[in-house]
Symmetry: C2
Subunit: 363 residues, 2 copies
């Protein structure tokens, strides 16, 4: 934990910063182990000030006890009403002249309060991905937690889809999957689940509806558990009863694209090269325009994090990155097929964490 | 729906505004019916620009279809990447010179983008509670939805606590209550549930833990369903097996305080007067210092909204406000008791929506 903060502090001089204020909840948990979550957009559960001199966690009285239990090796500052006065005072005390902040994780009102508290003697500088850069390579403990989230997700998928019958609605199926993940140990969903049947399967982010699932139509299920803060991301496309020729054809292309990518991706490639392994298969089959999203994205404390694995992504894949591999084909009016695994990038290939079967039919 | 936007627009000139940009998700749903929710702090599901000339809803391509289905009578603008350019262009087109914004509901980065897009010809002015002021009085349709959320909450509480046995953990009880609410029709929890047993009952915001519930100790349960966006908020304190004399004494004081407030509150009083009806009972019993929070708060699309019902709250209660009445006494090391109903303020008293029993023992 401490070495994460050390790495962050070591990166500050090159950014022209004496210190950084970390307001993003995932970054906060990553650096300190403090798991509290924001209850609404405008109130922060806590912020971290990392300076060369010392590290401070600012939180409110309601969360102070939890912060004491979950963190160590930092100075806890409990404020009643004015977090930014406390933050600016601590920064001033540590001799900070240039303070980085996260413009995507502070409200305009909070930034204004920070500006006023900082006054003229502390210069505020917007940062981009200062902590996210560190989060991108997962350490073994993080991979263990992601793996656990993946296992819960896989097991829930198999338990619930086995024996699934026609007429179950998308929303009921989604709730059964959620219940199964929670009862297998997920603390929450990693993201709002997608269950789209028939034409709804053509919407990459279909919201589970009251539509009953019919035999023969594609059902796209995109689901993930959260475990100790870490996310899994799994998509499978299933079909109850007899598949159509169209279904088998599309499914086969997507599966071949996914397997092609999974057998070719390795550390040292660019994300756009990784994307191309799958995209080429789909384009060659004549469905390039129907694969209208990126191949994948990083997964960790956030379900979507850097790097993006897309056509024009310059990021270079590195050992220890955890990413998704999720090609899809979507045909408006008919439906769609997407197949997604969560995988770890290794020097000589990838380690596939997701083990949910890729056969189409629920038994 | 339209009259809400009309009321908002009519309030703008007195605030020195030609138009207002509404970014808060609850305010957005209130004004337009658009139910999409933010998936993270830094990306907006949509924003509303209300001008005297017309009303615009800005959203991204993924949510455009949902926006079309859920809204009417406004101009839908779908942007790819630059919401604030689209927003500033629409404002400029409508001749807007002074544009209000919500500083608690825009990130610092978003505000910067808005400033740049607005340029020198549109002046940005921070607003406070411009829409929340309208939300504070609920119309009959809103009260019906809150009532439905309350009924789900009450039923789940009774179903799950009936026959509750010693040894059940706080976390298992919380999950059973959540499942029951979801299966009775809740779309989500209105807030993170509190289940605190024994000493944990002394923490007003106890996170359900692996602690098994023992006979004889107080168990504070604070729970609420969300239904069509609207929240319920219910607290009951229960005890498995024989209660101690201490428990009965504290419980009796809190219940008397709650009933005193419920029989006295009516429209026309200040929120601080409402708070005093309960606080006086607890102070007279010698536990003033142990009732360390406000009597209640408004409930609606947000589980905590204006008005706050506290010692120093100047707000005047009005017909149609929905508030909580929730006195409590907390004794560190022993536990606590809180009893909370969701109620509607009426001219001549209150209408109590919560009907969960206030007897202490699960049968």
């Amino acid at each position: 934990m401490d070495s994460r903060i050390e790495l962050l502090c070591r990166s500050l001089p090159a950014k022209g910063l004496d210190a950084i204020l970390v307001s993003n909840p995932y970054n906060r948990q990553y650096l300190t182990g403090f798991k509290a979550r924001e209850t609404d957009l405008s109130s922060s559960a806590g912020q971290v000030l990392a300076t060369g001199q010392g590290v401070y966690l600012f939180t409110n009285p309601i969360l102070a006890e939890q912060a004491k239990i979950e963190t160590s090796g930092l100075e806890l500052v409990v404020y009643e009403r004015e977090p930014y006065v406390a933050i600016a005072n601590a920064a001033r005390g540590a001799g900070v002249k240039t303070l980085g902040f996260e413009p995507d994780s502070l409200t305009a009102a909070a930034f204004r309060a920070l500006e006023q508290a900082a006054g003229k003697d502390i210069k505020l500088i917007a940062t981009e991905n200062a902590v996210e850069e560190l989060r991108v390579r997962k350490d073994p403990e993080e991979i263990t937690l992601i793996h656990k989230a993946v296992e819960i997700t896989d097991r829930a998928f198999v338990e619930v889809t086995t024996g699934l019958t026609e007429g179950t609605t998308e929303a009921v199926l989604a709730w059964e999957l959620e219940k199964a993940m929670r009862e297998l140990g997920a603390e929450a969903l990693a993201f709002d689940m997608v269950v789209g049947a028939g034409p709804n399967a053509a919407l990459p982010h279909a919201i589970p509806s009251g539509k009953p699932i019919k035999a023969g139509e594609p059902v796209v299920i995109d689901m993930g558990a959260r475990y100790e803060g870490y996310c899994a991301d799994l998509t499978r496309t299933i079909c109850i009863g007899q598949t159509s020729e169209q279904f088998r054809r599309i499914y086969d292309i997507v599966l071949r694209a996914q397997l092609a990518a999974e057998s070719s991706i390795q550390a040292g490639q660019t994300a756009s090269e990784a994307d191309a392994f799958a995209r080429r298969v789909i384009e060659d089959a004549g469905f390039g325009a129907e694969f209208n999203h990126s191949l994948g994205h990083g997964v960790g404390l956030a379900v979507h994090e850097v790097p993006r694995i897309g056509k024009d992504s310059p990021a270079v894949l590195e050992e220890g990155m955890v990413i998704t591999v999720e090609p899809g084909i979507y045909i408006p009016g008919w439906g769609g097929v997407r197949i997604e695994d969560t995988v770890v990038v290794r020097e000589s290939g990838i380690e596939i964490l997701s083990q949910a079967p890729k056969e189409v039919f629920p038994v």
